[in-house]
Amino acid sequence: MKRVKRKSDQIDRLGQLLLLILPCIVVSACTTARVEDVRVTATGILDGEGVVIMARSYHLGNETEAKFTKCVAEALGRGASALRVVPTTEFVDSLFPWFEPRTAPSDTKGLPDLLARPGVAHRIAAKGVRYVIWLDGDTERVAGGGSLSCAAGPGGGGCFGFAWWQNDSKSDAAVWDLTALASAGTVSTDVSGTSFLPAIVIPIPLIARTRATACKGLADQLKAFIVTDEFA
């Protein structure tokens, strides 16, 4: 009888623990995402064709994080409708100096001149790049509040209080079709999320992963945008 009671106690404790953890998991995923695209020309991609992800030039004031660019590139290259993604460094180095921050074309009007330069069109064809995707965006803390204080002594330490902050991840991806020498359209995401940090002795961070959500949302939409030809 005692053994049965012990087991029942253990199950009760486990249940209580799960009840504590579950809201944390649920609340930590609290983000609002908006993804939209504007199509200018017909799209589509053939076998052997690929895309390259580029961050807009810092000469133009862009602050896109390298992590975000890498995240989008990785997300595009895996899962259903995965695209062939040419590594950015490999592409930029093979076309040096024509895709450097100073020299890269800022709009599609510069594409004919760029491809007319000796060797450029040949190198792009050799790399099998059909679309260049220009990313522009960042994550900002738009609001925050609360207070949290921590103290430590010889007997131990702890925190007490409550803090919160709201992050906003905005990003735009301009898709250029190097075959048509024109813009295929843009895909944009706007993800907003509020993170909480309550602390009663132990701080429990409930983080809203806005950047990760923006990355996934943007990559999924880009796949759909490039692979699906709505005009067809």
Partner: protein, 333 residues
């Protein structure tokens, strides 16, 4: 001067006292054998009051006046006595020196903690083979001595000190660049007079200024590097044909691994930026292609000028100060 190994005494477990009977002498060394072993007191104990610790745990010597009270299980205490005249120091002197030393060590430690410094080395920047048409002239380049080992330091007041060591990376940059840009290219030693060489022009690059900013200065999460190069071009006769300053800029966001990597990346981006600018603008800004000796001789022989007069060395300004900066309209924009 050592008077004698004057004193030896049995002592037991902290309660025994070892008394030095002679006033006017100082104890300069002692040993406290503990259970047959000999933990040596690392510091001289010529001071009177105070406390010293043996190097072995559990053996402690407390000096009160001339009395040693020894804690721990001891078998024998001994001390070497020097004449006062030989020691010639205040009983407080050693303590004072010791305290000062401690204070200096603490100060040095705190300074080291507060005034952190970072050193970034750029050994071999990635400068790919440029995709560019060669200019049909033969050039030589003379690198200044500073290009062999360029180091720049920047002190962020009250914060940290940054040192960036570009090493020979400027030589690598310009060698790769000019080798791809010109039909024939040679690097000449500073002792060589380029006028004796069968070349159309020679180039002397240099660094006018090098600056960078770290996040604590710019209040942004970025490291930025500015390099201002100057490129002087001389014709085959040694006349200065062009003097072209160029400003290059590189920027990199801070990584979680620290600022060193970001600063290195910003420096490499600035060098690549300079390379891109030189490739795009050099001929336009300096007219270096006009220095081709064959073309010049044809022009001299022909009754009608085959090229604009302004391009000829005779009519070109002695020092054409041309600038291609960021605001120059690029062809591709």
């Amino acid at each position: 001067m050592l008077v004698s190994d004057w004193w030896s005494n049995k002592a037991n477990n902290g309660k025994s006292r070892c008394r030095i009977p002679t006033q006017g002498h100082s104890v300069s060394a002692t040993s406290c054998p503990l259970r047959g072993k000999d933990p040596v007191i690392s510091k001289p104990i010529s001071c009177k009051p105070g406390m010293l610790h043996c190097s072995r745990t559990g053996s402690k010597v407390i000096i009160t006046g001339w009395t040693f009270r020894i804690r721990g299980t001891l078998t024998t205490c001994s001390a070497l006595i020097y004449e006062q005249a030989a020691v010639q120091q205040s009983p407080w002197g050693s303590n004072l020196t010791s305290n000062m030393l401690k204070a200096v060590l603490i100060a040095v430690f705190l300074t080291a903690l507060g005034g952190c410094s970072s050193q970034v080395t750029v050994n071999a920047p990635t400068i790919p083979d440029p995709l560019v048409d060669r200019i049909p002239i033969s050039v030589a380049v003379k690198f200044p001595v500073e290009f062999e080992h360029f180091v720049h330091q920047e002190n962020v007041i009250g914060k940290e000190k940054w040192t960036i060591d570009l090493g020979r990376s400027n030589i690598m940059l310009f060698t790769k660049l000019f080798d791809a840009m010109f039909d024939e290219f040679t690097v000449v030693d500073n002792s060589v007079d380029p006028r004796d060489l069968p070349i159309d022009a020679w180039i002397e690059p240099s660094i006018d200024a090098f600056e960078f900013s770290v996040p604590s200065q710019s209040q942004t999460p970025s490291f930025a590097v500015w390099i201002r190069y100057r490129i002087k071009i001389f014709d085959s006769q040694g006349n200065q044909f062009a003097n072209w300053p160029i400003s290059a800029y590189g920027k990199s966001l801070t990584t979680t691994m620290g600022g060193d990597k970001a600063l290195r990346r910003a420096a490499v981006l600035a060098m690549r930026d300079a390379a891109a600018l030189i490739i795009m603008q050099m001929d336009k800004a300096t007219g270096i292609s006009n220095l081709n000796r064959e073309t010049l001789s044809k022009v001299a022989a022909s009754p009608e000028p085959a090229m604009p007069e302004s391009a000829l060395p005779e009519t070109a300004p002695e020092e054409s100060q041309t600038t291609a900066s960021e605001d120059t309209t690029d062809e591709t924009r």
